[in-house]
Symmetry: C3
Subunit: 207 residues, 3 copies
Amino acid sequence: NCVLDGDVTPLFVIPLWLDLTAVAIGAVQGAMFAARFRENRLDLLGVAIIGLVIGLGGGLARDILINQVPAALSTNWYLLTATGAAFVGMLLLRVFTRMNAIIITLDALTIGMFAAIGCAKAVAAGLPEVPAVFVGVISAVGGSVVRDMMLNLPIALMHVGSLYAVAAGAGTIFMLAAMHLEVPIVWAAVGCVLITTMVRLLSVRFG
Amino acid sequence: NCVLDGDVTPLFVIPLWLDLTAVAIGAVQGAMFAARFRENRLDLLGVAIIGLVIGLGGGLARDILINQVPAALSTNWYLLTATGAAFVGMLLLRVFTRMNAIIITLDALTIGMFAAIGCAKAVAAGLPEVPAVFVGVISAVGGSVVRDMMLNLPIALMHVGSLYAVAAGAGTIFMLAAMHLEVPIVWAAVGCVLITTMVRLLSVRFG
Amino acid sequence: NCVLDGDVTPLFVIPLWLDLTAVAIGAVQGAMFAARFRENRLDLLGVAIIGLVIGLGGGLARDILINQVPAALSTNWYLLTATGAAFVGMLLLRVFTRMNAIIITLDALTIGMFAAIGCAKAVAAGLPEVPAVFVGVISAVGGSVVRDMMLNLPIALMHVGSLYAVAAGAGTIFMLAAMHLEVPIVWAAVGCVLITTMVRLLSVRFG
């Protein structure tokens, strides 16, 4: 209950390990992104908070939109994973230099995984196609909007050149189309991740 | 279920065409508002996103507050309407010049319609009077707060002179009073729209 | 329903007078904080809105996260109390000078009370320990994050030195530990308020 009854209600559940993997990659990447602003009066706590925002923000926005208790609050694992991963991200940036390429790749991968998981949860909750794409895109980019607002940066999402929204939108539209063609959801989701990640990486290279 | 049981629970439903009209006017106006900031490093996607924020933001905030699945996610129409209207808003600004008066009028009309719809939904969900006014005001101005924060503008709501909150508050208080006096909800809502729109327009002219 | 079924579901209710007291202290303090920015183009309405944000923001975030209709919308008292308290805060600042110490103390007390109430509600809703701490911290600091974003200030939460999050985290962890040791919830909550308030005050004095 508390959920829309749509025409198509395929019942499937995101495996916990997969969701936690996306959270961890997001938190690592968020912390690495924020750690580069250290001179910008951002201390360790601020870096960890941005890690949490990127790791958990999109999923919280997704679950609030579809009116469910957020997955991140239903077990201890999400917050522990995101916090641990944020610290790993901080350490990585100290150990290595020239991490820019890795941050960009992880960022693109995060967007892809969150788009696929968000879209899948929206479909499972019975949302129609267009709102399912919307929830997928919000899951993918919601954390980065909050991050940019908290860091007082221009919001990357707002610029076509960043292709954030375009990438997540293309991936989720592919995923829904594939599911309508009876492609198993796992492969539809893999396609979504690949398309989203590649579109975003191409925008960085050529934009 | 998932909704408060208040003393007064008049059962009525906002017609879809009316809700979509408010969304469309909001999205047109939001896109026109944002398009004037083009020099401000805001591209087409940014303009469309601000259109979506103004068209859908207040309603999303309203439905999240009253703990329901957002209307905008329950059918494809809301997102399609808002996206289409945002593009219309962009085109209008290119075709015509001196649109300032139209933008201000549409803005005032948006606030009035969202205030009336938000207040009606809050009452239908069983909320008491003061929270119903609050939800009406948030529906009316929530989108503009997010818009101003995303565009890094001073938040118009925060200044008495703008009369945003005052206009929406006066309109919703009138609507609730009229409903208590057994005035049919349609006329109460029309009064709310008229009062809110006029107060806001007067503030622009004389403030 | 609409709530997680956890292992431990102690059923208890926050008394209304206690919740309203926390709201009132928060709104007084929020208005006093904002009123000092008057020169900063913030007028009376803006001051009142910041009072509302501090008095009600954390609780709204808490209830949205645990997927319940916000307490602040279930009776008229919350909004009336917060609005009245915000005006009291404005008056106090005009009557007295050198209120800085009082604002800081009320701020610390607000954080402590919101952390305890937020944690208690999260446990009552069946959330596990780590999410309960998270909801307690968000209840405590959520209002101040929105305040800082609306006033375009650097976000105090983001800096270790402010100890906002650390104070609220320490208090809620103590509270959960005490509850696991069968300490009555009232005393656990009192301990949470004391610890949070003292950690925050020490950070101001020595940080």
